[in-house]
């Protein structure tokens, strides 16, 4: 494996910067910390990226993939994040898109992939339920087979962006007659179908990120099933791996480290800036080193040159340590602001970075919970790498 500085990579970095600079500021204008881009803002950004051929470099060539090196993918994410570009719909591009390509029928690919590329269809992930969190084998949403349709009933919880989404991919349990299947099935559900209602679940930061989705006798065509009934788990495994590396949030932490340095250089405490406080400096340097290590771990995981269970465990390390670093940077911001951090500024009124510090800190407590908790990552490391 070779991650030496490659002049081609540096040229690519410059190209990305130029691309961003040439876009309308309406699309990429940097937003303050804690700002949630609106759907139209994200759609415009997705269209621009796709027009450039950069939206889904990791997809198969037939659907716009580019066979990029890990370094290139990393550079693109790093630069777009540093410039404050909106988030693409990663639930679509990184989670369901690859599954549809790998396991979906040709008709399903034609139906769903173009909507992801054009940004016209947003997705949400309907796995967790009130009783099924870490243990997804407890999923209780039932899809009763009736002729050419499934009648779906159940309750999904913590569903990120369900209130913005057009489609959901859900884990369900198929029922034929009176018999409930053992294995889970992977079903695509139109969020506008009758019988679906979405309730916001506000998080500690006061924001609306996640939802409860109630499905009451929702009629879904059988052709919306991915692969075979009862085989959902085999498709999901691959998805969870890719979810882990994008949940590590490394480019975001890098960007926030710069914000933190700005705060600390101007914030006075007892007559000197926080940056001049050796204790604070030491904490900052520790985080910076952790981030360097995480970045290279991320490249190792993305390049996928290492294989086997032990390599899979690297993704788990990346997920939980990456999430902790993402939390850590917001903890240091909180400490930097001191007592001013306790002002609660609602989402819509945050115009400066510092107004979003407490909210960012609070929401990021979920980084070690969502997409597999830290405890679950450690269980997997114990099993995969340590063979316990």
């Amino acid at each position: 494996m070779n991650f030496d500085a490659d002049p081609q990579d540096e040229a690519f970095r410059t190209e990305v910067r130029r691309f961003i600079a040439a876009l309308s500021p309406e699309i990429v204008r940097g937003k303050p910390l804690g700002y949630t881009h609106s759907r139209p803002e994200r759609e415009a950004w997705i269209r621009a990226l796709n027009a450039q051929g950069w939206l889904v470099p990791h997809w198969s060539r037939a659907w716009g993939g580019r066979d990029w090196t890990a370094m290139r993918r990393h550079i693109l994410h790093d630069e777009t994040c540093a410039a404050g570009c909106p988030e693409v719909d990663r639930i679509a591009t990184d989670l369901v898109g690859p599954i549809i390509q790998a396991f979906g029928s040709a008709a399903q690919q034609r139906r769903y992939l173009p909507g992801i590329l054009s940004g016209t269809e947003f997705w949400c992930q309907g796995f967790s339920e009130p009783q099924a969190g870490s243990d997804l084998s407890l999923v209780g949403t039932v899809a009763r087979r009736e002729g050419e349709r499934y009648i779906v009933s159940g309750r999904k919880l913590w569903t990120t962006q369900a209130h913005l989404a057009d489609l959901m991919f859900a884990l369900v349990r198929v029922k034929i007659g009176n018999e409930l299947q053992q294995g889970l099935s992977f079903l695509l559900v139109d969020m506008r179908a009758g019988g679906i209602s979405t309730r916001p679940v506000l998080t500690l930061d006061g924001g609306h990120h996640v939802n409860e989705v109630l499905l009451e006798e929702v009629s879904v065509p059988r052709e919306n099933l991915i692969g075979a009934e009862g085989q959902g788990w085999t498709y999901v495994r691959a998805l969870l791996e890719s979810e882990r590396s994008s949940a590590a949030g490394i480019p975001h932490t890098k960007r926030d480290l710069r914000r933190l340095e700005e705060f600390a250089s101007s914030e006075l405490r007892h007559g000197r800036t926080m940056m001049d406080d050796p204790v604070f400096r030491a904490k900052l340097e520790q985080l910076r080193d952790e981030l360097h290590a995480l970045e290279f771990l991320h490249l190792r995981v993305l390049s996928a040159t290492e294989r086997g269970p032990r390599a899979e465990a690297l993704g788990c390390v990346l997920k939980f340590r990456g999430a902790q670093a993402y939390q850590r940077v917001s903890e240091l911001m909180l400490e930097t602001l001191g007592e001013r951090s306790i002002e609660y500024v609602p989402d819509s009124q945050r115009s400066a970075d510092e107004a979003g510090v407490a909210a960012a800190y609070l929401f990021r407590r979920s980084a070690t919970i969502a997409a597999g908790t830290t405890e679950i990552q450690k269980n997997m490391i114990a099993a995969l790498a340590l063979e316990l």
Partner: protein, 371 residues
């Protein structure tokens, strides 16, 4: 006293009521409720628990405050008791003349008057000792107050402000003398030149940013004797720091058992989560945080009561920093142990956590104390 406070909080300050009031947009209804609670606090003698009998108090000490605030922490009560009772009332009691004590503290104990303190801004360039200043005009024997404080808890609820300013001749004098020689002015919160911006805080309560722009007061507004407020200020601040430590310990205690009970009833993988040793160990760590914090509180209380000057301030400051940090760690871990449920604002754990975060940064914050 502990049992009485516990009972009232459990009956009248339940979590559902707190949640609804925090989410409520009907400010008048929330304020009316607050007044009812405040009156009840007065009737039960809480407001004077740590004040002497001559002003209507029950003659208790910081120990009574600690008991009261630990219970308030367990119930996450959202009234401005800390800034008003544990801090400002103590400043008046220790620093005021006999007449001022009677005039201010009696209505305060009856629940009719609320007061908050406006003290140095830690962010200011010289460490904040003179971020608020008073200029004397000899001809009229009046003072003009000017300055700024970014966070005044309770600022929106009070009718009087105690404004702390340095001894004018020695604004940059370091050490004990410089701190001791301060003045405090009693300022009507509605006076001309008092500019207030109220904002909600993380814990569902309110605080204010207050700017004083040429606020005129006369000599009768001086609390106590000229240049003598430093000692009262120190005493009251340490009293309030200990009360806030006790409140954090109460909140930590409440949050630990809430988390333990949640894991007992939550089942995944066919077992109660509380049966998993990885999680039992995390709970054991939190128990250690709680009991070390409680020990640190006792150490602070004993140093404060002991009046051994040299060690007292250091012990109180150490307790505040230690418990603040420990409370944040316990809060973070409790959220983690709840999984998604910990992130839901409609659930109790987050309210404990946010109150802990707020208390940790007020009155001295997480950095080691500089005194």
């Amino acid at each position: 006293m502990r049992a009485a406070v516990h009972r009232y909080c459990a009956d009248q300050c339940g979590f559902e009521a707190r949640r609804d009031r925090t989410a409520s947009r009907d400010g008048d209804a929330v304020a009316a409720q607050s007044r009812l609670h405040w009156q009840a606090f007065a009737n039960m003698g809480w407001l004077g628990a740590a004040l002497p009998p001559d002003v209507g108090g029950s003659g208790g000490s910081v120990l009574e405050s600690a008991i009261l605030f630990e219970e308030l922490g367990r119930a996450i009560v959202r009234e401005p008791l800390l800034p008003c009772i544990a801090l400002a009332a103590q400043v008046i009691d220790k620093g005021g003349t006999a007449e001022q004590r009677e005039k201010l503290l009696q209505p305060l104990v009856r629940g009719e008057l609320l007061v908050a303190l406006m003290h140095a801004e830690a962010r200011a360039a010289n460490g904040g000792r003179d971020s608020i200043t008073a200029e004397r005009c000899d001809a009229t024997a009046t003072y003009t107050l000017t300055g700024h404080k970014s966070v005044v808890p309770g600022g929106a609820d009070v009718s009087l402000l105690l404004v702390s300013v340095p001894w004018p001749e020695t604004p940059d004098l370091d050490g004990a003398n410089g701190e001791a020689r301060r003045n405090i002015f009693i300022v009507d919160a509605q006076a001309d030149g008092v500019i207030r911006r109220d904002f909600p805080t993380l814990d569902g309560m309110r605080a204010s940013e207050i700017v004083l722009r040429n606020v005129r007061v006369d000599e009768s507004s001086l609390l106590g004797e000229w240049g003598q407020a430093g000692e009262a200020l120190r005493y009251a601040t340490e009293h309030a720091m200990l009360a806030s430590c006790a409140e954090m310990v109460g909140a930590m205690d409440g949050l630990l058992w809430l988390t333990r009970d949640y894991l007992r009833q939550r089942r995944q993988y066919g077992v109660a989560l509380s049966s998993l040793q990885a999680l039992q160990h995390q709970l054991a760590d939190l128990f250690a945080e709680l009991e070390l914090s409680r020990s640190m509180l006792y150490r602070g209380l004993s140093a404060f009561v002991g009046e051994e000057k040299a060690t007292r301030s250091a012990a109180v400051a150490a307790a505040k920093t230690y418990i603040g940090r420990s409370g944040r760690r316990l809060g973070e871990a409790a959220i983690q142990l709840h999984g998604g449920m910990g992130m839901a604002d409609e659930y109790k754990a987050g309210h404990y956590f946010k109150r802990l975060l707020t208390l940790a940064v007020l009155l001295g914050g997480l950095e080691p104390h500089q005194q």
